[in-house]
């Protein structure tokens, strides 16, 4: 028998954290991903009743996938749901564990006000009915990282019920259209997270980290209104945006997590009424329940927590201690702008397409970046939208960076756009790039002809050398040639060197002049305005 690997170091505590052998590797309930936000899907095939009165004949059945989801989002709070321990990611193992979290006998849960407020706020944002009275229950199962042998959750009477979540699905030829869809929210419940088990297969033992044990979770249960993985993923993404806007959860589910869940749901679509979960190691879904013994959680009311009572303006007792009561109406007033409203505002304020507003919100930090650029530039909002969504986002995607990791600041991009706006630098590159704008969902590599002045400036900015666009333009001599005399000289030289082309122009070949323009631009290292070149050439050729 191996010695315990981890111990709480505090003097006088003899309760040591222990190992368990690695006998059981697949677990109950939610799959434990690297993030604390987990999704459990239940998908099944349901017969859609086409004509309810008639007995359907064979072959008349239409089968449709039905996807319901349970989403666990970690509540953003300083302390855990029922204890004063800090909530912090990547702290040393077992450094954020109170006596209650470790389930020392005699300890009792004390409900965290912040977590209740987060649940109420989320409930309101999802159009739920907030239960003025909700209850806590114990859900029992033995697992090494569940030290009490039960999890406190809200099974019978959750804090919020009967809501809805509206999300948008891309459709149409170019998938540029957004069709609104709605999924019903069955309930939102408060519950504790479990600890984390780390299996050491070599030594055949398991190490337990209780830092996460007792952290508050919001479990959002969606009705099976979703018909495919894409809908499910989009709905989850919208929920994530709402939680982030509310600040009730960071909801920082990685994209792969959603991707993983989509495939899970799609796999699950073949199995009738079986709850399956994704197994990270095996890379496929596995049945969540033991085949041998169906899990009976033996739910029971949590006797150490009185019913959770909430009030509104009309039911609030006059002598209530504000520290001891939660006023739903007050929380309603504190609700921030929700993503759907933000998108509507963007469309109206900046005249952008709805799908652009979706993209702006879907990338973490992109909206803020966009708004900061808008604030600082004279350029048209439409131009800002194009630059941010196409060029800026394109660069980010190419290098797989988050907005927060971008080497280009909003101010720098704003200055670049100002230079463009004042025609100090060429806009042709930007125009060429514009060809790609209509397809925002798929991010293309930069267009071949893009390496012109503005994009050159952008590239320079991307190198993180700390120079402003203005400095780059003057150092690299990228500004448009404003000196007409000099440009006339370039034109004259080009004509002199290419008499055949000049002859072609004079013979009346309309395309030949473009060739001359191209040659002049090349000679000026693309710093000349083609319109001005054309004008000078025409004058010199007396056309």
């Amino acid at each position: 028998m191996a010695a315990p690997m981890l111990r709480w170091g505090c003097r006088g505590r003899r309760w040591a954290l222990a190992w368990v052998d690695g006998g059981s590797c697949h677990r109950r309930g939610a799959p434990t991903g690297s993030t604390s936000n987990r999704i459990r899907g239940q998908s099944s095939l349901a017969q859609q009743p086409l004509r309810t009165a008639q007995k359907p004949r064979k072959g008349e059945h239409k089968w449709a996938a039905v996807v319901g989801l349970e989403i666990h989002a970690q509540i953003s709070s300083n302390s855990k749901l029922f204890s004063g321990s800090q909530v912090r990611f990547s702290a040393p193992p077992n450094s954020l564990v109170s006596f209650f979290d470790a389930s020392l006998p005699g300890t009792l849960p004390v409900l965290n006000r912040r977590c209740v407020e987060a649940a109420v706020m989320t409930g309101l944002a999802l159009n739920c009915h907030i239960n003025k009275k909700s209850l806590f229950d114990r859900k029992h199962y033995f697992y090494a990282d569940l030290p009490a042998g039960y999890q406190i959750t809200q099974q019978r009477l959750p804090i919020a019920v009967n809501g809805s979540l509206t999300y948008g699905i891309s459709a149409g030829k170019e998938r540029g259209q957004v069709i609104p869809k709605t999924v019903r929210v069955k309930q939102i419940q408060l519950e504790q997270d479990s600890g984390k088990s780390l299996h050491d297969d070599l030594r055949s033992q398991t190490l337990v980290d209780l830092n996460r044990a007792g952290v508050g979770l919001l479990e959002v249960v969606l009705e099976p209104d979703l018909s495919c993985g894409e809908e499910a993923a989009t709905a989850v993404r919208e929920l994530q945006l709402i939680l982030q806007a509310l600040g009730t959860s960071q909801a920082n589910m990685a994209d792969y997590e959603i991707q993983r869940q989509i495939s899970e749901l799609e796999n699950g679509g073949e199995i009738l009424n079986e709850t399956r979960s994704f197994h990270e190691k095996l890379g496929c879904t596995v049945s969540m329940r033991d085949k041998e013994a169906k899990q009976d959680y033996r739910f029971m009311p949590e006797p150490n927590l009185p019913p959770l009572l909430l009030y509104d303006a009309t039911s609030l007792p006059t002598d209530a201690d504000p520290q001891q009561v939660i006023n739903i109406d007050q929380i309603r007033e504190m609700l921030p702008e929700l993503p759907s409203v933000t998108r509507e505002r963007l469309v109206q304020q900046y005249g952008m397409l709805p799908e652009h507003s979706f993209t702006l919100l879907n990338e973490v930090g992109l909206l803020e970046f966009f708004q900061n650029v808008i604030k600082e530039t004279r350029a048209e909002p439409k131009k800002v939208t194009s630059w941010v969504l196409n060029i800026f986002l394109g660069y980010l995607k190419q290098e797989n960076l988050a907005v927060s990791e971008s080497p280009v600041t909003p101010s720098a991009l704003a200055e670049l756009l100002d230079l463009l706006d004042s025609r100090t630098i060429s806009s042709s590159a930007a125009k060429q790039a514009g060809v790609q704008w209509c397809d925002l969902s798929s991010l293309q590599p930069l267009p071949p002809g893009f390496k012109r002045s503005a994009s050159q400036v952008f590239e320079e900015l991307w190198k993180r050398e700390g120079k402003t666009p203005g400095q780059i333009v003057s150092e690299k001599q990228l500004e448009l040639m404003q000196d007409r005399g000099a440009l006339e000289q370039f034109c004259y030289s080009v004509m002199k060197d290419h008499p055949q082309v000049v002859m072609d122009v004079k013979k009346g070949n309309p395309r030949a002049i473009n060739k001359l323009i191209g040659l002049v631009r090349k000679a000026t290292l693309n710093r000349a305005d083609p319109a001005m070149i054309k004008e000078i050439l025409e004058k010199q050729l007396s056309l």
Binding site: M1, C10, G12, R13, R14, W15, A16, L17, A18, V20, D21, G23, S24, F99, A102, S103, L104, P105, G106, T107, L108, P109, V110, L111, R138, H140, F142, A144, P147, A148, G149, Y150, T206, V208, D296, R298, F299, M300, P303, N304, L305, P306
Partner: protein, 526 residues
């Protein structure tokens, strides 16, 4: 000797120092070791606390009535740095890193913690006979009063084999106070576990209203019924300790805000003519000893003769209490005991085939039959298919039982008067003829319904039986009318003048008893 408040006065007047008092109690603990009242004697801690208390007295900075007073705590309350076992193999060697709120409150008032007292394993029992450290012996077994009666009875056997149980599950606490090894002790009361041994040991045993005193740090039996209990030699002492313990605890969400005035000083009732005493007719059961029945009726007469209104009331759902309690208690036990899996603290078996095998063996080795039996029943009642039929129904019955009391009090009754136990303490050998479950069902009959309803109740010693053993009667009050209840109890206590236990012989003889035990164990080894 005498009451807590009297010795407190002596401390204040400098007639005795905390260290002297502490040493006196420690020597009594040693002399009465054979009672098995204590699981752990915290001698060093107590002496250090006494020293500090002494300094405070010298500097005129006494913390109050409890400063320097020796107390004992049932071994299911967490005590920082002191082993807390619940009389179970499962928690042998477990040293909590924190104090239960009630323990902390006593220590904050300068009380001296003499040790941790014996109990039935995890407080499951009514005899203090089913703990892993062996049964507790009732000090009255060795009292002059009992011994003289026994000499008169030609059938009684001589010697020590016929010692009496204390009742339980807080029997260690009761024995500790009764044998003068401390002045007050904490018990816990889930179905009568404080009142029952108080009655058998001639003490005041008080169960406060649910929600008045914090349970934080009390290792739970049934969370929705557990209440820390107080065992003292008189009602004023219990009231004083209650004053210290009562109040909202941020660590226990089921405690209420500011329910009573503090400090709690009981007035002396001049007369009881404005009182209405209720006598529940369902409590007159055939199993009740005739002696207790007649004392009960004499007590009612006493109130009536002093001008109180005494009326018969009905608590019609009383008879369902035991079976209802069985379902609710075992269900919560099954849940509460789930944390004892051998992983983090307490006992762990040597089996390492798999996690599940380790859990199973650890729990089999760690819990006794009583605990395992309750876990098994509880899990059965909580199964999805049984939940509605058992747990939910039991909850409904519990509500009916609680409503019985509400109706009685709404009919104008101030306090209910009932027996505490069916009979006086019985000899151990007789007690163990029945199993724990049968005994618990019988012995909790008058006390359990009170826990279902969360009411305050107190057992007051009224007289000695024909055998020279204490008999207690119970008063039950409205929720959070603890002070009124104790005021009535104090009046009653004054009227009955219950005799002091005469242990002089025990104190002289105990060395002889100890010698005998030593000889016995030596001969066993041979």
């Amino acid at each position: 000797m005498g009451s807590l408040l009297r010795v407190s006065a002596a401390l204040k007047q400098g007639q005795i120092t905390p260290t002297e008092l502490c040493q006196k109690c420690l020597s009594l603990i040693k002399k009465t070791k054979f009672l098995n009242a204590y699981i752990t004697v915290s001698e060093e801690v107590a002496l250090k606390q006494a020293e500090e208390s002494e300094k405070r007295y010298k500097n005129g900075q006494s913390l109050g009535d409890l400063d320097g007073i020796p107390i004992a705590v049932k071994d299911n309350f967490s005590t920082s740095g002191i082993e807390t076992t619940c009389a179970s193999n499962m928690l042998k060697g477990y040293v909590p890193p924190y104090n239960a709120t009630v323990v902390q409150k006593l220590l904050d008032q300068g009380a001296l913690l003499m040790g941790k007292t014996n109990l039935d394993e995890f407080a499951m029992g009514s005899g203090s006979t089913d703990g892993v450290f062996g049964p507790v012996k009732n000090p009255w077994s060795y009292s002059k009063q009992y011994r003289e009666k026994r000499k008169q009875n030609p059938h009684s056997e001589s010697g020590d084999s016929d010692w009496l149980i204390t009742g339980g599950s807080s029997g260690g606490s009761a024995a500790a106070v009764s044998a003068f090894t401390c002045y007050a002790a904490l018990g816990s009361d889930t179905g009568g576990s404080t009142r029952n041994p108080a009655a058998h040991c001639g003490l005041v045993g008080f169960k406060p209203s649910y929600g008045l005193v914090s349970r934080h740090g009390l290792i739970p039996l049934v969370n929705s019924m557990d209440v820390p209990g107080i065992l003292t030699r008189c009602v004023d002492d219990a009231a004083m300790v209650l004053g210290v313990l009562a109040g909202h605890d941020p660590k226990d969400s089921t405690t209420v805000h500011d329910p009573i005035n503090k400090p709690l000083v009981l007035s002396s009732l001049a007369d009881v003519s404005k009182l209405c005493i209720g006598i529940p007719k369902e409590y007159l059961v055939p199993e009740l000893s005739s002696e207790i029945q007649s004392l009960w009726s004499r007590a009612a007469d006493l109130f009536e003769s002093e001008g109180a209104k005494v009326i018969e009331v009905s608590l019609p759902h009383t008879s369902y209490s035991i079976v209802c309690y069985h379902v609710l208690c075992t269900s919560e036990v099954a849940s509460n005991m789930a944390r004892f899996d051998g992983l983090q603290y307490g006992h762990r078996c040597d089996i390492d085939v798999s996690t599940e095998a380790m859990y199973a063996a650890t729990r089999r080795e760690g819990f006794n039959d009583v605990v395992r039996g309750r876990i098994l029943s509880g899990n059965f009642f909580l199964l999805k298919e049984n939940y509605e039929n058992y747990f939910v129904k039991a909850q409904k019955v519990r509500r009916l039982i609680a409503n019985d009391f509400v109706n009685a009090f709404n009919s104008g009754v101030d306090v209910l008067l009932t027996p505490t136990t069916l009979s006086e303490a019985v000899p151990y050998l007789e007690f163990i003829k029945e199993d724990n479950r049968t005994r618990s069902a019988q012995d909790d009959i008058f006390t359990q319904a009170v826990n279902m309803a969360g009411l305050p109740a107190v057992s007051i010693p009224i007289a000695l039986s024909n055998q020279g053993l204490p008999i207690g009667l119970q008063f039950i009050g409205r929720a959070f009318y603890d002070q009124q209840l104790l005021t009535v109890a104090k009046w009653f206590e004054k009227q009955v003048q219950f005799p002091v236990i005469q242990l002089q012989e025990l104190m002289d003889d105990c060395s002889a008893i100890l010698e005998n035990e030593k000889l016995a164990s030596v001969s066993l080894k041979q």
